[in-house]
């Protein structure tokens, strides 16, 4: 009995290995093609390796960085992701704490609105939101975080509320009786308990912020500021021949940092996602 179990286990491992390799293959294929000369990149030749005369080395990468503005986009994406994430992680726990601890009609209504904002598709608000943003001049990478705070608040408040309902009220009451004001209580008592949830929320929001395409496209001035997803879409959006070489180099330059961050923070990311889902 044991022996057959071992054998079936080995079969499963082999099947999973093949499956994993095919999972990685699409990215590997882009890597191969990003090393080819522009003339050698054809629709039907995507699976073939570059030959010695079509091997371009890092030419496409140099082009992507030097003349396609990749570094600028990387900078904008980083600024937007970091500022929005910081704003969400500072302000949303405060709001969530107030909503769970002060229960009245207003906070209940607010909670319902936050949950609603998670379900409502972006297309519902995209036009009016972009007009509001233009009107308030919230259309640069440096202040678009205000909009992201508003639109990302739903998930964050929902998750923080879910966690806060489970922590006992007595701890906070004790600190209030001991003479802390609510601000001190929040930062010195509540925030330390919130840390694991903050990691989950931070990861989920970062995944969304970094990859978001439509919101920055509609809000930012595309001629001046392009985030990474906008830059990649722009390759096809602009008229004329699509420059496949630099485009694939851009894709690789986008994917590689994500993979590095993922491999470094793998445990936290997977744990964060699992924890976030259980609370949802």
């Amino acid at each position: 009995m044991k022996k057959t179990k071992k054998r079936t286990d080995r079969v499963w491992v082999i099947i999973l290995t093949v499956l994993s390799l095919s999972y990685v293959y699409p990215i590997f294929m882009i890597l191969i093609n990003s090393l080819k000369k522009g003339s050698a990149i054809t629709t039907s030749g995507a699976f073939t390796f570059p030959a010695s005369d079509s091997f371009a080395g890092l030419e496409n990468y140099v082009d992507a960085v030097m003349s396609k503005g990749f570094l600028k986009s990387l900078g904008y994406s980083t600024v937007i992701t970091l500022t929005s994430m910081a704003a969400i992680l500072i302000f949303c726990p405060m709001c969530a704490w107030f909503i769970t601890r002060v229960e009245n009609r207003l906070t209940k209504l607010l909670y319902v609105l936050f949950v609603l904002s998670m379900v409502v598709p972006f297309q519902m608000v995209m036009f009016t939101l972009s007009q509001t943003a233009d009107w308030l001049k919230l259309n640069t990478p440096w202040n678009i975080w205000i909009i992201y705070l508003g639109f990302g608040a739903g998930l964050a408040v929902f998750m923080f509320c879910g966690f806060m309902k489970s922590i006992p009220l007595e701890i906070e009451e004790a600190s209030l009786i001991d003479g802390c004001n609510p601000i001190q209580t929040f930062f010195q008592v509540v925030v330390p308990m919130l840390k694991p949830t903050m990691v989950s929320v931070g990861i989920l929001e970062a995944m969304w912020l970094w990859n978001d395409y439509l919101l920055p496209t509609l809000v930012l001035d595309i001629k001046k500021y392009k985030t990474i997803p906008m830059l990649i879409q722009y390759f096809r959006g602009s008229y004329g021949k699509v420059e496949m070489g630099p485009m694939m180099a851009c894709i690789m330059l986008t994917v590689i940092p994500i993979i590095i961050v993922y491999l470094l923070g793998q445990k936290h990311i997977i744990k964060g996602v699992a924890a976030g889902a259980v609370k949802g």
């Binding site: 405060m94 608000v125 036009f127 909009i147 609510p182 395409y213 894709i251 949802g280």
Partner: protein, 283 residues
């Protein structure tokens, strides 16, 4: 305690609330109002009753987008959840290399929809041109299946993680008890494990359902709705109505479509949560 906190209400609530007002509440209600108007900017809205809704319902591209979205959602929900659950079962058996497999399967999730769309466009077009079939831009069924493969590739890992967490919470004792009572492996799976992970199933079906209904980036990048709007899903159809059409009436129609879309998404989310929640067992 409530009293002490209420004095600090502005400080705690205001930052998030102000942003929420700008980022969601105002645009949302303005959007509902504008769906009854003809407009090209928010400033020049003129009330015109339900004309927009009538036109939205009579737009054949919109109804086609609805059918396409439903067909896409059904197949992708089933295939993603079945595959993710099977992988989760395999990866909780204590096989060698479990961690590596888990890492690999989750990875595509971190890559954005636009990038994923282009990666798969290149790959699928290559396969199509080798087999001498029309490319994605002219091939509706390839576009449909391409979207499903892409969606599976991206989402299976995420759902797998949720199922793994759910399966790890099923206590060994219950499984042992079932086995002592003489339950075969498939019975343990069907009558013990499956009911116990029902909360995970609720979440995963909910996530895949809303994700597939709201799908936009992948649709835009992989097929762009080609050929002739045949692979256009609801979100992309609304976007095109807003920004790709000339004429004063289209923005209003787009907004009306968006309201319809919004109601559909809210309705199916509520129905789905109700129906699977009722199957959960109390622990």
């Amino acid at each position: 305690m409530q009293k002490a906190m209420k004095r600090y209400a502005p400080l705690f609530i205001m930052p998030t609330f102000a942003a929420f007002l700008i980022g969601f509440i105002i645009p949302f209600f303005q959007g509902i109002y504008l769906s009854f108007c003809q407009f090209t900017t928010v400033g020049n809205a003129k009330f015109n009753g339900i004309t927009n809704y009538v036109k939205a319902f009579s737009d054949s591209f919109f109804s086609h987008a609805f059918v396409f979205t439903v067909a896409f959602a059904l197949v992708s929900i089933i295939s993603i959840n079945v595959a993710a659950f099977s992988l989760a079962l395999l990866l909780t058996k204590g096989l060698k290399g479990t961690n590596i497999f888990r890492t690999v399967f989750f990875m595509p999730n971190l890559i954005g929809g636009i990038v994923l769309g282009y990666i798969w466009q290149i790959l699928i077009n290559c396969v199509l041109s080798i087999t001498e079939k029309p490319l994605l831009a002219l091939n509706t069924s390839a576009g449909y299946w391409g979207l499903i493969v892409l969606m599976c590739w991206q989402q299976i890992g995420y759902m797998m993680i949720i199922y793994i967490a759910g399966l790890q919470n099923v206590s060994e004792d219950i499984i042992e008890a079932a086995k002592i009572d003489g339950a075969a492996n498939w019975r343990v799976l069907w009558n013990v494990k499956l009911p116990m992970v029902m909360p995970s199933i609720t979440i995963c079906v909910f996530l895949t359902l809303t994700n597939s209904f709201k799908l936009f980036d992948q649709n835009l990048a992989l097929t762009g709705g080609e050929p002739n709007h045949a692979t256009e899903m609801l979100a992309l159809n609304i976007y095109q109505t807003f920004y790709a059409r000339a004429g004063a009436q289209w923005k209003g129609i787009g907004q009306a479509k968006a309201v319809i879309f919004c109601i559909i998404v809210i309705l199916i989310s509520v129905i789905q949560l109700r129906s699977t929640r009722s199957k959960e067992v109390q622990q």
